[in-house]
Symmetry: C2
Subunit: 146 residues, 2 copies
DNA sequence: TATATTTAAGACAATTAAGTCTTTAATTAA
DNA sequence: TTAATTAAAGACTTAATTGTCTTAAATATA
């Protein structure tokens, strides 16, 4: 699996938050209800994003979470690295510690450009651009209940 | 993480087996000792590869494992899908069941070509080509003990 | 000030992945 | 035929991830 469940949830939830375009804070409960994600689990994921300064949170009535900066200044790469860490973009595909130019693994050369592509893709996708796509193409963030 | 530990081990071990260019069977113990992979764990991984007809195994003295077909006819994609399954190349990046052309997630369009690249990379890398690189460039499969 | 609302934090449980150990079956060779 | 060698199979343990629950802290409002 490319992304952990935590990261999958984090992306969907943050994207949903963005799409609401709400002035103030949005409660985590509203988001978890809407996207069918465990409230407590989502709370923990948001805590990571808050600690990484991607979100702001506020306690008490009318509290919740909000983007910490404009939606065009938060990328998918920000979200992924804040939750899963940078391993996907830094570590050897074969898990060999110390794999590098000096003594590379058999996939090193081929994986380098591929990893850069992936990173570029994640870097170019901002919450703003994705939220725009969301509107334009009526994309989905929810699981369908049949 | 892109690949599971099982797949990482499976690739390294199969590649090592290929590089030996041995006529008969190579014992799993020899491979696990050489690459510092748990013997029993590697045995299970090889069992999957044997069941997927990528390896042949033989019990008893002078037994072990061997490639089931020429090294240029086994790809990295074969190994990855045999061990981890095809999810990486088939499932939605955001984990939305039913994500597809009809009702795609916000990453669907961007991820499609990227996934195809990745798949092509894994499909073009055969055990033969990687083993050749291994010789030519003195690449490494082992963890370095300092 | 008291109560309700909301996130923070941490304990705990369930599930999955990773790793170990033991027994069985197949095969060779003495 | 007996003993040694090797993979197969499955039980078991450990660790990591995922998910749940409870309590504490912060804040607003009545």
């Amino acid at each position: 699996m490319l992304l952990s469940k935590s990261t999958e949830y984090g992306i969907r939830a943050t994207l949903y938050l963005t799409s609401l375009k709400q002035e103030g804070y949005v409660s985590i409960r509203d988001i978890s209800d809407e996207l069918d994600i465990s409230f407590h689990f989502l709370t923990k994921i948001f805590q990571k994003l808050t600690q990484a300064d991607l979100l702001q949170s506020f306690r008490g009535p009318r509290g919740g979470v909000a983007l910490a900066r404009p939606a065009d200044q938060i990328t998918l790469l920000d979200l992924v690295t804040a939750i899963d860490g940078p391993a996907l973009f830094t570590e050897c595909v074969l898990g060999l510690p110390g794999c590098g130019e000096r003594k590379p693994c058999p996939l090193h050369e081929a994986w380098g450009p591929e990893r850069d592509n992936l990173k570029a893709l994640f870097e170019n996708a901002t919450l703003a651009s994705m939220a725009a796509d969301l509107e334009t193409f009526d994309l989905r963030l929810k699981i369908l209940h049949l």
